[in-house]
C-alpha cells in the first residue's frame, strides 16, 4: 500500500492555472483522477459499494481517522454508476423528527464547503425549494415540520400563493377552478442541487489521494463468516478478501448480502424513477415540490427539467419506469405547469433503494462482529457528506457518531422508530 503522503503529492490539484497549463499541453498531460492499485488479499477495512456513501466513508476514514489503515472500496460495476448517478440531486433538510434534522442540517452544510475541500467543482447551487401545498392535512403537517425545524436551525417559512406565482411564473395551474387548488407554500432556502457525478468522482479522487484502494468490477458475492459467526471478509468475483471490518454501503442491495450471513434486516427495496425533458431556456430557478399531487422538479444547468414522482408500488429490483407511475407524474406536472404540454421528454431511468421499516436510515454495527451497515438511504443523496463522515466515525471508533446515535439497529427491538415516511417521496 502506497504511503499516503506520497500518493497525495502525486495527485494533481485542479485550478484555473492548471487548466490553462493543460490547454497549452493540448490536454495530453492529465493523469487519471484516482489510483487503481492491484487487489490485495487482506485489508483493515473493506467498504462494499463505490456510490456516494461508500466513497465518502472511505474519504473521511482516511482523512479524519489516520492514514495507517489499509482501506479498500469494492464496486461491482463502475464507480459512481449506482444511485449516486441516478438521483434528482435535491439537497434539503426539511425533515420531521428531532433525531433527523440535525443530521441533515450538517449534511447540507458540509455540501456547501465540499467543492473547496475536495478541490473538485461540484457545481453546487443553493437555489431553494418551494413546497406547493394543495390539501389541509399536508399544510398542517408541514407547519408542524416548520416548528421542529426552527428548533434545529433549519429554515422553512410560509409563502403566499401570490408569492409562489411571482417566483415561478410558469406555474399557472392549480388555480381556484382546479381539482386541487393551491392553498399555500413553504420556502426552504437551504435547499440546493449539484452535479452528482462530480460528487462521486470528487470523493473517489480525494480518497484515492489519501491511499484508499478503489477496485471496480469487483462484485461481492457473499459475506465470509468464521466459526464464531463473526464476519471476517468477503467472497468476490475476483477471489476471497479478508477484512478486519466489513462495511456495507450498497444502497438497495443490503439484504442480498446480509442474507448470505443469515442476518435479517428491517429493509425492503423499492424502485424510484425520474425523467428529464429536452433542454430549454432558463425558466425555473428553484426546486419545486408538490407532495399532494406527487411531483417534484428542478431545471438543470443544461436547461433540462429533471422530474420525479412516487416510487413504484411494491418491492422491486428493476430500474425501469412503470407506465402508470410515469403517466401519474406527467399528469401532476401538467396540472401545475400546463404549458409543459409541448415539452418533449428525453430519457427516463430508475434505481432501487432500500427503505427501513420506519423510513429512516440505519447506520449500525450488527449482531455479527466485524459487519457494519449504512443502509435505508431512501433520499440519501443529500446525506452523502454527513453519512460518510458518521459512518467513518463508527468504523474507526466502534461507537456511533453523536448525530447518528439513534439510527442503529437497536431502535427496532425497542420500537423506538424514527418515522419519516411522508417527508420523502416514500410510500
Amino acid at each position: 500500500m502506497a504511503d499516503a503522503a506520497v500518493s497525495r503529492s502525486r495527485s494533481q490539484r485542479y485550478s484555473a492555472f492548471s487548466l490553462l497549463a493543460g490547454a497549452f499541453r493540448q490536454h495530453r498531460g492529465w493523469r487519471p483522477a484516482w489510483r487503481e492499485p492491484p487487489l490485495e488479499q487482506c485489508y483493515d477495512i473493506v467498504i462494499v459499494g463505490a456510490g456516494g456513501h461508500g466513497l465518502a466513508t472511505a474519504y473521511y476514514l482516511a482523512r479524519h481517522h489516520g492514514s495507517k489503515r489499509r482501506i479498500a472500496v469494492l464496486e461491482r460495476g463502475w464507480l459512481g454508476g449506482g444511485n449516486v448517478a441516478r438521483n434528482t440531486v435535491t439537497i434539503r433538510s426539511n425533515y420531521l423528527r428531532d433525531e433527523s434534522i440535525p443530521f441533515y442540517v450538517k449534511s447540507v452544510a458540509l455540501y456547501e464547503g465540499l467543492t473547496k475541500e475536495l478541490n473538485f467543482n461540484l457545481m453546487h447551487s443553493r437555489r431553494g425549494m418551494i413546497d406547493v401545498i394543495n390539501t389541509w392535512p399536508k399544510l398542517r403537517e408541514i407547519r408542524r415540520r416548520r416548528m421542529v425545524m426552527d428548533l434545529h436551525g433549519a429554515t422553512y417559512r410560509p409563502i403566499s400563493v401570490d408569492e409562489i406565482r411571482r417566483r415561478i411564473p410558469l406555474l399557472t395551474g392549480g388555480g381556484p377552478q382546479s381539482r386541487l387548488p393551491i392553498l399555500a407554500g413553504m420556502l426552504h432556502p437551504d435547499a440546493a442541487v449539484n452535479r452528482h457525478d462530480a460528487v462521486a468522482w470528487g470523493y473517489a479522487r480525494a480518497a484515492g489521494g489519501l491511499g484508499v484502494a478503489i477496485h471496480q468490477n469487483t462484485e461481492v458475492k457473499s459475506l465470509l463468516c468464521d466459526e464464531s459467526g463473526a464476519v471476517c471478509g468477503v467472497e468476490t468475483s475476483r477471489g476471497r478478501i479478508l477484512a478486519g471490518k466489513t462495511a456495507l454501503a450498497v444502497s438497495g442491495h443490503t439484504t442480498s448480502l446480509t442474507d448470505t450471513a443469515g442476518l435479517r434486516l428491517p429493509l425492503r427495496s423499492f424502485n424510484l424513477t425520474a425523467f428529464v425533458s429536452e433542454p430549454v431556456r432558463p425558466v425555473l430557478d428553484c426546486i419545486v415540490n408538490c407532495p399532494d399531487l406527487g411531483v417534484y422538479l428542478s431545471q438543470s444547468d443544461k436547461g433540462e427539467f429533471v422530474i420525479g414522482g412516487a416510487p413504484d408500488p411494491g418491492q422491486s429490483f428493476r430500474r425501469d419506469i412503470r407506465q402508470n407511475v410515469f403517466e401519474d407524474t406527467v399528469c401532476a406536472l401538467l396540472e401545475l405547469f400546463p404549458s409543459f404540454k409541448r415539452l418533449k421528454l428525453l430519457r427516463q431511468w430508475g434505481g432501487h433503494l432500500d427503505m427501513a421499516h420506519d423510513a429512516s436510515p440505519i447506520m449500525s454495527p450488527t449482531e455479527r462482529p466485524g459487519l457494519y451497515i449504512s443502509a435505508g438511504w431512501w433520499g440519501g443523496y443529500k446525506a452523502i457528506p454527513a453519512g460518510g463522515m458518521t459512518f467513518a466515525h463508527l468504523l474507526a471508533t466502534g461507537t456511533p457518531h453523536p448525530l447518528m446515535e439513534k439510527f442503529t439497529l437497536d431502535r427496532f427491538p425497542h420500537l423506538d422508530f424514527i418515522i419519516e415516511s411522508g417527508t420523502t417521496a416514500a410510500v
Partner: protein
Amino acid sequence: MLVITCPFCGPRDEREFEYCGPAAPPRPEDASVVSDRGWVEYLTSPPNPVGPVEEIWWHKRGCEAWIRLCRDTVTHEILPTREVRK
C-alpha cells in the same frame, strides 16, 4: 403496467388496485415462547428477495376484496392470486 387477476373480477389493470404491503408470515402461535428477536423480525423484517415475494393488494376501485399474490421483484410476473381470507 401490471395486469392483476382478481379472484372475483378476473384480469384487471393495476391502477384499480392499491399495494398494501408485504404479506405477513403467520403470527407466532404462542407469544410466550417467541424471543424478542423473533418478534422484531415478525413485526419489521419481511423478506426482501430478488425474486418472488408475497404481498397484499386491495381491489380498491373494483370489488374491494383484499387479495394475496406472489409477484417476482425482477420480472414482475404474477403467480396465481387468492383471497386473503383463504
